[in-house]
Structures are given as structure tokens and as C-alpha cells.
């Protein structure tokens, strides 16, 4: 399945912090950039996410702001 979201960055999971409903996942996409993602624990379980996994961080273009 191809997705309409314009931003897909390949990286490696560096850290997973589990809360009670939500989890925070840190993904290293290279060049010194680490992306922070907050998803449900249900998603972490379903995708069997663990540190070291190669994954994609995905962001819809309408969610990206610009600072200057």
C-alpha cells in the first residue's frame, strides 16, 4: 500500500517509552535528525515495534510548520 502522506523518512528506532495509553518512539533518520512520535501502545504492540527496528516516520504535509 502506498500512502498519500508526502513525508516518509526511513530510520531506526532508538527508544520506546510506554505510558498507560500512549507511547513515545524515537526514530533516528540520519544526519543527526531524530524524530519523536507519539502513538497508541496498541500500535506498538500490533506492529511489534522494538528498539533497532528499521521503520518509516510518516507525516502528512498539512502537519508541517516552518520556523525562520
Amino acid at each position: 500500500m502506498e500512502i498519500s502522506a508526502r513525508n516518509k523518512f526511513k530510520g531506526t528506532i532508538e527508544e520506546i517509552t510506554l505510558g498507560s495509553v500512549m507511547a513515545k518512539v524515537k526514530i533516528n533518520i540520519g544526519n543527526g535528525n531524530v524524530i519523536s512520535s507519539v502513538i497508541t501502545i496498541e500500535s506498538v504492540t500490533d506492529l511489534k515495534l522494538k528498539v533497532g527496528d528499521v521503520v518509516y516516520a510518516i507525516v502528512k504535509s498539512t502537519e508541517v510548520m516552518i520556523g525562520k
Copy 2:
């Protein structure tokens, strides 16, 4: 001003496409990664954004999904 959004990626504007209300801005953040952002034309004007500008792409963690 420091912002709570966890994701701030420094890059260079490669392309700006102006629509009637919204604009699409492409930011090269290195390592082969280009971020696509959709913001208002009003923001493009206010921040005086132009191709070649060094800017930050900013994304709130709750907006980042993971694909595996």
C-alpha cells in the same frame, strides 16, 4: 522563543508552490530527506519565505505515524 514541538529539522527551501489560499513548501533537510509542508500563503508572505532560505521544519510528535 522555544517551542514544545519535539521535531525541528534544519534545512533549505528548494521549492515554493503558491495556490490561492495555501502554499506547498519543500525543505531539504539533508541525507536525501525532503520535507513537504503545506501552510497558508499568508505565512509565506509574513515570513518572507523564498527558495534558498535556511529554515526549520517543525512537527508536533502526536502528528508522526510509524510504518513498518
Copy 3:
């Protein structure tokens, strides 16, 4: 690729309205429910979306509100 977004609804594209940067796509997911999506024209082109296509409407759980 499997995605962390919890909401994936299979449906058929009923209508595509192209703007200058953004496009509006209506997807019939059955049971009288039609989902409206606003994505970039670039995505419509890249995914070769057209009326009649069977697609998935995808929504991150944190974007769903509840009305009662």
C-alpha cells in the same frame, strides 16, 4: 508496509475536486458513510487517484474527536 494509524477504512472514490495546491477526495466506505479527505494534488497525481478506485481512508487516532 503496515502503518501505526489505527483507522483504515476501505472504500471507493466517488469524487475528486482539484484546487491549485490541494485536492478534496470523497470516499464511500459503505453503510451510508462518505469520508472527505483533503490532500495535496501532488499526492493525487503520485497515487494516480481517480473516481472508482478502491482505496483506504487513513486517520490517526489522536485526530478523532467525539460528539454526543
Copy 4:
């Protein structure tokens, strides 16, 4: 009050999972589709949400992606 969000799906609450700040709510909208929503516990309390309630899942069009 009528709301600008284009997507309003009527359904029945199947499950509520309470975290410490956020809660996950599953809404069955028929045709085999279950919508997952993450809202504050404060909202769950204020709207007195409980399993079996008939509610609306509401999503802004700009938050809907398409997969093909």
C-alpha cells in the same frame, strides 16, 4: 451547534481505556468499521462517555490520508 468538520460518523462506544491523561475510545460505526479515538480523560468525564453510548466520531478533512 453545527461543526465545519466534514466527517461525522454515528456509532456505538464498544470500549473505553483510561490512561493517566489520555483515554482511548473505540466506536463501532457499522459495516465492520470500528473507529479508534484518543481524547483527554477530562473529555470522557465531561461528556459522561460510557460503553453503549451512541455518539459521533468527528474528523477534520485535512486529517484524512489515502492509501492505495
Copy 5:
């Protein structure tokens, strides 16, 4: 209908800019604060929005960032 979104600010529409698919609406909520909203033209038409209308600007808590 009551909505789970925590932020509902009453104000008056000051300006509507119509694009081809999206529209920008400015809402004065008092105390010198003007909220900018980008919604579909379809929503502007369905809600019969016009300058001078008293409306509510509605924002889900997960969409609010903090700058300091």
C-alpha cells in the same frame, strides 16, 4: 451535540478568503486575539458562514503547542 474538543472560543467572523478548495476564516475572539482557521469551501457553504457571524473556533487539545 457536545464535542470532546476542549477548546471552544466564541467570536465574530472578520474575514473570509475563498481559495479553490480551501478557505481561510478569521475569527475575532476578543482581548486582541484573532483566530485563523483553514476549512473547506464546502464547509463555508454548508454552514452559510459570512462576515459578522457569531461562531465558535474549535481546537482539539492535542493540536495545541506551547512556546516559551
Copy 6:
């Protein structure tokens, strides 16, 4: 740094509720309006947010709905 997000409201933090991954922050922006924000605890710590701080609530225009 100036940000593209159109909505920046100055206010005072009234309340911070810490969860396990996420935190809820209430900001009084005057005129009887209190904005509710859900951000990561990591952001609360990094920005050293505490009750009484003068901060900005920031919202991208595409995240603002209208009710009438």
C-alpha cells in the same frame, strides 16, 4: 525564530497535569478563555514549564474548526 503557525495566544499557565508520557497544560489567555494543550512530558521538562509561567499557545490554522 518566527513560526508559520498563524495562531499564537499569550497567556499564563494555570494548571499542569502530568501523565506517564503526555501532560495536559491549561493556559489562561484572558477574556475568560482558557486553552487546553496536550504535549509530551519531555516538552514540559525541556521548557521548564510551571504554573504561573507566561507562555504562548500555538495552533496551526489547518487545525481550527468552526462551529455555528
